[in-house]
């Protein structure tokens, strides 16, 4: 569920108006909560971001249901939002466990980007992740955190915790694939790649699985 046109086609104009009115009330409450009830106004960009965060949580929840459009009609929007928020927080916990598994199954390599991503970048992202007010944001929350290591297959259509979760699941799969190849074999592939491109192989931004598949 990510298409305005699809939603608009499903709901009639009166229902769309009703949904907008209810979302407006919810956004008002989120803005006040965001300021700790100490300010009644925020910059438009902040309100926009809070709105997107709210929608992110709601969409994350609705996409787990067999018929999200019917759920929008049947359930209270506030309840959908709180269910979504709870789900997003669960994903954060899940990602912490996934990161532990990734570390436990890591490829033994001197590739800096790979090690840096596993040892610090993902942790920083999870630490700085704001499920309530900036659920849709991935790397924007931390100046230090950026995901350096490129995946073999990266789903860039999602953001926020869904992206981080996908990234870790994919990395876990890649680790399992690379486990079928020796440490020295992988090192020689990286070294050769580095020599070919006149680079120190440790500093390259390359995907190990991709290098292995190219060689095959």
């Amino acid at each position: 569920m990510n298409s305005n046109a699809a939603i608009a086609a499903f709901l009639n104009p009166e229902e769309i108006q009703d949904v907008q009115a209810r979302l407006l009330n919810m956004l008002s409450e989120e803005i006040l909560r965001y300021t700790g009830y100490e300010s009644n106004s925020v910059p438009v960009e902040t309100a926009q971001s809070l709105f997107e965060s709210m929608l992110y949580c709601m969409t994350a929840y609705l996409n787990t249901l067999p018929d999200p459009y019917a759920a929008m009609r049947a359930f209270d929007l506030q309840q959908i939002f709180f269910s979504g928020l709870e789900l997003v927080k669960q994903y954060v916990s899940e990602c912490k466990q996934l990161l532990k598994k990734v570390k436990a199954t890591r490829v033994q390599t001197e590739l800096i980007a790979y090690n840096h991503t596993i040892d610090s970048e993902i942790s920083l992202l999870l630490k700085g992740y704001d499920a309530r007010f900036q659920a849709q944001k991935t790397t924007e929350l931390s100046a230090m955190a950026n995901i350096s290591y490129p995946l073999f297959s990266d789903d860039l259509s999602v953001t926020g915790i869904l992206y981080i979760r996908n990234y870790l699941l994919e990395l876990l799969e890649e680790n399992a694939f690379c486990a079928g190849y020796g440490k020295n074999y992988i090192r020689s592939l990286l070294l050769t790649h580095g020599v070919r491109h006149h680079l120190d192989y440790r500093e390259m931004l390359v995907n190990i699985k991709e290098l292995i598949l190219e060689q095959k």
Partner: protein
């Protein structure tokens, strides 16, 4: 969902439709002080608020700010019936402008309290001094992370090693 806020909602939808009535009801409190707002004054102030929010790129929930400014400033020695409405217009603009300039690091009540204190005790009722000296200094203090941000005469910031070296070289 269309997440472009401006395309979905109008800023006015966040306003309180009872704002005018609430402002007029404040006349009960301000009349003994010789200050009253007419329905026309109130409409103009509400319009001023909408324009100030728009000009400063802000969205406000409800319309309580004007009332809070009235309650804070109605006891001012520098207000008379003649300048009451014009001063309120100016205060509304200053409030939203400096909410941005202070990076939302200060609460609404604290900013209004600061404005009243400065206007009354340091600016002699001058809106120019309030805007261009006191509020500007407050914003600077907050942006520089100074703990005592209401201090209008702060100690110079401590220089770090690089800054000290640059100073010695000059």
């Amino acid at each position: 969902m269309d997440s472009r806020l401006s395309a979905v909602f109008s800023l006015n939808l966040f306003s309180d439709p009872t704002a005018a009535a609430q402002l007029l009801s404040l006349n009960e409190k301000t009349e003994p002080l010789g200050l009253t707002l007419s329905p026309t004054d109130v409409s103009a102030l509400i319009q001023s608020r909408a324009e100030a929010l728009n000009a400063n790129g802000r969205i406000e929930i409800g319309s309580a700010t004007i009332g809070r400014l009235v309650e804070a400033f109605c006891g001012s020695a520098y207000l008379s019936q003649q300048n009451y409405s014009p001063v309120l217009h100016e205060l509304i603009e200053l409030f939203y402008y400096y909410k941005n300039e202070t990076l939302d690091l200060i609460s609404d009540n604290e900013l209004i309290a600061f404005m009243k204190d400065a206007f009354e005790n340091r600016c002699g009722g001058s809106l120019d001094l309030l805007a261009n000296r006191e509020l500007q200094k407050l914003a600077e203090n907050l942006r520089f992370g100074r703990e005592d941000y209401t201090n209008m005469d702060p100690e110079p910031d401590e220089l770090d090693e690089d800054e000290k070296e640059d100073l010695d070289e000059q």
